[in-house]
């Protein structure tokens, strides 16, 4: 089955052998390695090949991944990160959850500009160097980190002075100067692995309809590097998230403002949330409700989950047409595969009521919450220090 836009087939353009309109930045990455300026961290042999916007092949590593976590996910919606790890554990794939990783610091940069190109590149290359030292391939959890690191890659390639400056800083830190062959977002991994994940699903989602919000910093920054697929929207929109919904047997709800931002705004979500709330409700949630009436909104970035979920509370006070739970694609896939909604997906950190969704999915949220509460009681009583992965799957 393929998801198609309502376009006339006879007007559908075929790519044929037309060259992509942009340079292949990866060729430059290897040229710079040949000059001796940096090391290229190669994608391991165990990878899946997918297509990007202009038909180029992108390699998505399957395992031995160094998880470049997201501060917004880990800090405020930790079930997002936990679900990504859980998917890898469920497939029996090796990964590393490092402590020698910092945030990309791009949220702050896009919000306050209290940084500069050299500092931003320094942070990126320190993290890439740490992954290389560990012998695992970086997998970027946050859409903004992913988009920003791709911009940093462009800057380092096209500005030899910047490259020299940042290389000097890495030498002082004792870190190798390393550029990954591909910069990979976790939702690309979920897309590449979607059939393997779907093989392990235990719940029937055929009655579930999801609207998809594609994250701006995934598909609007360095656009040619995002994944597209002729079988999804005729290749006219990014295929990540949507292809996963399709593989899991759920339905896609169409809505007209799919290209719009969520309203996050970087500085606005922190200090001018009246804008963020208004945009998220008026241009996203209400439009989705009116045009698709979905059971859930799915997206693939930190800020988008936060904005679309948290903004709905104030909308209720103004009698706006809100009330759609918001999850990541990873959480959605994990639930389909039988993950615990609270021990793994940590849905109690989310805001908009998700109980009707869980009921429709066939998940008994009352008994699941009781199980989780028992874990909390044991932690508080000192009977266990932490919830473990074994507990989460128990």
């Amino acid at each position: 089955m393929s998801l198609e836009l309502p376009v006339l087939k006879e007007r559908r353009a075929e790519r044929k052998n037309a060259p992509p309109p942009t340079e292949d930045v990866r060729e430059k990455v290897f040229e710079i390695e040949a000059q001796g300026d940096w090391i290229v961290h190669r994608v391991p042999d165990d990878h899946v090949e997918v297509f990007t916007k202009y038909g180029r092949v992108k390699k998505i590593p399957r395992q031995n991944l160094w998880h470049h976590k997201s501060c917004g996910q880990c800090g405020h919606i930790p079930g997002y990160s936990t679900a990504i790890f859980w998917l890898m554990r469920k497939l029996g794939l090796a990964y590393e959850d490092p402590t020698d990783q910092t945030s990309c610091t791009a949220w702050n940069y896009y919000a306050s500009a209290t940084s500069n190109a050299a500092a931003q590149a320094g942070v990126a290359m320190r993290n890439f160097g740490a992954a290389y030292e560990a012998g695992n391939y970086p997998l970027i959890h946050c859409g903004t980190s992913y988009g920003h690191y791709k911009e940093v890659r462009e800057e380092l390639i096209h500005d030899p002075e910047l490259r020299k400056q940042v290389k000097g800083i890495m030498e002082k830190l004792g870190k190798p100067f390393v550029m990954p062959e591909e910069i990979v977002h976790y939702s690309e991994w979920v897309y590449a692995m979607r059939r393997e994940l779907a093989n392990l699903k235990v719940l029937d989602f055929s009655d579930i309809t999801a609207t998809v919000h594609p994250a701006c910093h995934y598909h609007k920054l360095v656009v040619e590097d995002a994944i597209y697929d002729r079988d999804i929207y005729d290749g006219q929109r990014t295929a990540v998230v949507t292809a996963v919904v399709e593989a899991l047997g759920a339905n896609i709800g169409e809505y007209s403002t799919w290209y719009d931002c969520c309203g996050f705004g970087f500085r606005h979500i922190l200090v001018e949330r009246d804008f963020t709330r208004s945009f998220a409700i008026e241009r996203k949630i209400e439009v989705m409700k009116k045009e698709a009436n979905p059971d859930v909104v799915l997206t693939h970035d930190t800020g988008c989950v936060t904005t679309l979920d948290q903004s709905q509370f104030a909308g209720r006070a103004h009698d706006r047409d809100v009330g759609i739970p918001v999850l990541s694609d990873a959480q959605f896939a994990a639930l389909a595969m039988g993950a615990h909604p609270y021990k793994v997906c940590q849905l109690h950190w989310h805001n908009t009521d998700n109980k009707p969704l869980l009921e429709k999915m066939g998940i008994d949220h009352e008994s699941k919450w009781a199980e989780f509460e028992e874990e909390l009681r044991m932690i508080e009583a000192g009977e266990k220090e932490f919830l473990t992965w074994e507990d989460a799957d128990g």
């Binding site: 976590k69 800090g75 705004g265 606005h268 509370f313 874990e375 919830l387």
Partner: protein, 229 residues
């Protein structure tokens, strides 16, 4: 001729021109600007244009005209409205008004413009968090008085944060003041990056108090690790 109204007339033209030259000298600037069809696609795609008196088309046009007066006005009055989502990159000419704004903001901060100080007022704790800990968002930032519009669930998180964090399977997430456990050596490396790239000077231009606190925190850590500060 400028399209700017008579604003910032107390600032000499030469001073404005110096800042705009700084913007144009940025190595990214040339890749953000290719001309303008006046089609308005960037405005249609822009979230901020729907709620503020803000136009990415005006940003691209002022830059294309090298209109110093108008660019200076935008650097003060417009740039902080941008959402930095880069929806404006839908431009058929390949312009990136959001990218131009990134550069305009950076120059505004580097030169300590009063408008930049105002825009960043109240933002200091976020800058402190990211620069001092290496993660921008932490669980203990979810306080009801900081997010009243997110409803009572913020209080539920705040009241239970210690236990709820222990109820996370990944060991790295058993933290409350940082998003995950960042090791000390990594923090030191981050501080060395900030110091080597002039970021601390930028902070000093817009928030002297924050600059002083950050310098103290970093000095202590770096001194203890044997680095000269």
């Amino acid at each position: 001729m400028t399209l700017a109204p008579n604003t910032y007339t107390d600032i000499p033209y030469e001073e404005k021109a110096k800042l705009i030259e700084e913007v144009m000298a940025d190595h990214r600037y040339g890749e953000h600007l290719y001309g303008c069809y006046e089609c308005g696609i960037c405005v249609a795609a822009c979230p901020s244009a729907r709620f503020y008196d803000f136009s990415p088309r005006k940003i691209a046009q002022a830059a294309a005209r090298q209109d110093v007066e108008l660019m200076y006005e935008q650097m003060n009055d417009d740039v902080w409205n941008c959402s930095q989502c880069f929806s404006c990159t839908r431009c058929p000419r390949g312009n990136n008004p959001g990218g131009i704004i990134t550069v305009l903001r950076e120059v505004a901060v580097r030169n300590g413009l009063a408008s930049a100080r105002d825009a960043l007022e109240g933002y200091g704790r976020v800058v402190y968090k990211i620069m001092s800990t290496g993660t921008q968002v932490s669980p203990d930032m979810l306080q009801p008085n900081a997010f009243p519009d997110w409803g009572p669930h913020v209080k539920a998180i705040s009241d239970n944060v210690e236990t709820w964090r222990k109820a996370l399977p990944p060991e790295t997430l058993h933290t409350t003041s940082t998003a995950w456990n960042v090791d000390e050596k990594t923090i030191i490396e981050l501080y060395l990056i900030w110091q080597a790239t002039g970021v601390m000077d930028m902070i000093g231009e817009v928030d002297e108090g924050l600059h002083m606190i950050l310098e103290d925190v970093m000095e202590d850590v770096l001194d203890e690790a044997g680095y000269e500060t």
